[in-house]
């Protein structure tokens, strides 16, 4: 080889790729979501995912994978497999007639998906976005059981957990317990037209705060107002 030769890359191993960032949507499909609400929610989610896809292509640290759970009386996977956001075409959610708002079963499904060994060890901390228009209607103990199962997994416990309440009445202590950080407010959409704006804030939180080197405290203040989540949630690597 001469000094002017450019060596050809021959790297050991199975190749490299960006670190996965898993976003899991937990969407309320109870009976109360019928009509304008579910239409607005579907529009807002599709718009949010399009924005995330733009971000995914533009940045150099993470590849966003999306899953979705639709919950009412029961919870089912709406998008079961982690799907690259750039490949995702949003399939509209449908409300369940007379369906209740049982969040515990949704937490349980997500807990199973985040169990050790179910997501990559090198994955960035996942982001969970809970969207609901009502108070939890779980049978006694089921909400707590589901939330405890979720928080029992390291990935669930470490996740960025955000919530959008559709209507002020939906802002509840249950959502605060899901978020688990008093400095992270429930994002309230006062009307269906506000849903999209709140999801934009959520997607900004998911994307920008996962960027290495981001000033997370400043971003949190900008997104959530003064006193938002600081390094306890979004910190760069630091000491134990």
């Amino acid at each position: 080889m001469t000094a002017h030769d450019t060596p050809t890359l021959r790297m050991p191993g199975g190749g490299i790729s960006r670190r996965p960032l898993h976003l899991i949507l937990l969407a309320d499909c109870s009976g109360g979501m019928k009509g304008e609400k579910i239409q607005a929610l579907n529009y807002a989610i599709a718009d949010m995912l399009a924005q995330l896809a733009i971000w995914d292509r533009a940045q150099e640290q993470a590849q966003v994978f999306v899953r979705a759970v639709a919950f009412a009386t029961e919870a089912v996977w709406h998008i079961p497999a982690p799907t690259p956001v750039v490949d995702l075409r949003w399939r509209p959610l449908q409300p369940v007639p007379r369906g209740l708002t049982n969040m515990g079963t949704a937490f349980q499904l997500v807990a199973e998906a985040l169990a050790p060994g179910r997501i990559e060890r090198r994955a960035l901390r996942p982001a969970l976005l809970l969207i609901t228009d009502g108070l939890a209607t779980d049978p006694p103990g089921r909400f707590e059981a589901g939330l405890n199962a979720l928080l029992a997994t390291p990935a669930g416990r470490g996740a960025l957990r955000l919530s959008v309440a559709i209507g002020r009445d939906a802002r509840s202590e249950a959502l605060n317990r899901f978020i688990g950080d008093p400095s992270v407010p429930v994002l309230v959409a006062d009307s269906t037209s506000d849903i999209s704006d709140r999801l934009v804030v959520a997607s900004l939180a998911v994307s920008r705060m996962s960027e290495a080197g981001a000033d997370r405290a400043a971003l949190a203040d900008r997104l959530f107002g003064h006193g938002g989540p600081g390094d306890s949630i979004f910190g760069q690597d630091t000491i134990i």
Partner: protein, 271 residues
């Protein structure tokens, strides 16, 4: 007679470059007549570790200088419990040397900021290996990878894992109880056929597509080592580091070091 040669590379992460931030990784190799030492270090990215790029440099310097100075006497062929000897007689010296170097730097460049604990801003991990035949010392505090590769392509990670490391928080040289967080292993080269040792900061492992990348990387490295000499690795390693640090990989600072067994007499190559 087998020689141990070192090849090293470091690349600034794409995320750091995009924000105009310096690389916070460091890598160093050094050799004496009876010992070869290689070390990588990763300064913590959190704002409270605002001098961690210095801390990382001081960490690899301490590993190489103290390794060459202390380990040959400590790791004689007749020592019965080398791991205990290193734990008792080397680890405290290594940490003390790093702390003294930090305080020396701090004396030259005092803080303008209010800092409660002077070591914290310099926080860094350290991964080092030292070939002092017949022993191979493998030592680590914090995250990163250390992989020992046999000529047949099988590999193993001699340093025990630390369940406390979660990808965001790490043990560190700047901790008050740093010595207790040091994990180490000593490999007997009379019993273990070692072709090479790979050391890397977490920017390398986080770039690998496979979660369990070590077996395939180990097998490929053994094959490459059988086909090529150190000059080839010296040309390749910067490419590997840049690829891992790029937007197609982890986007994080990436340091890679190889300690290669060779019958060549060439000196170790260090950038």
């Amino acid at each position: 007679m087998h020689q141990w040669q070192a090849v090293t590379a470091v690349a600034r992460g794409a995320a750091h470059a995009a924000r105009g931030r310096a690389a916070q990784d460091a890598v160093r190799a050094a050799r004496s007549a009876d010992c070869t030492v290689v070390a990588v270090a990763d300064g913590h990215g959190h704002a409270q570790h605002f001098r961690s790029e210095i801390g990382a440099v001081l960490a690899v310097d301490a590993a190489c200088s103290q390794g060459l100075r202390r380990l040959p006497a400590l790791l004689g062929a007749d020592v019965e419990r080398p791991q205990r000897a290193v734990r008792q007689a080397f680890v405290p010296l290594l940490i003390e040397h790093w702390r003294a170097a930090v305080m020396g730097h701090l004396a030259q460049l005092p803080y303008q900021e209010t800092v409660e604990e002077p070591l914290i801003p310099y926080g860094s991990t350290l991964v080092m290996t030292a070939a002092c035949p017949p022993w191979l010392l493998c030592l680590q505090i914090g995250d990163g990878d250390l992989l020992v590769v046999r000529p047949d392509g099988n590999s193993f990670a001699p340093v025990p894992p630390d369940a406390a490391l979660d990808g965001r928080r790490t043990t560190s040289l700047c901790q008050a109880d740093a010595a207790a967080s040091v994990r180490l292993a000593v490999v007997d080269l009379r019993r273990e056929d070692v072709a090479l040792v790979l050391l890397a900061t977490d920017g390398y492992g986080n770039a690998q597509s496979e979660d369990d990348w070590q077996p395939e990387v180990g097998a490929d490295l053994a094959q490459l080592a059988a086909e090529h000499g150190t000059e080839w690795f010296a040309a390749q390693l910067p490419l590997w580091a840049r690829a891992c640090a790029s937007g197609a990989g982890s986007g994080d600072d990436t340091s890679i070091a190889l300690l290669l067994r060779s019958s060549e007499g060439a000196a170790p190559w260090t950038p």
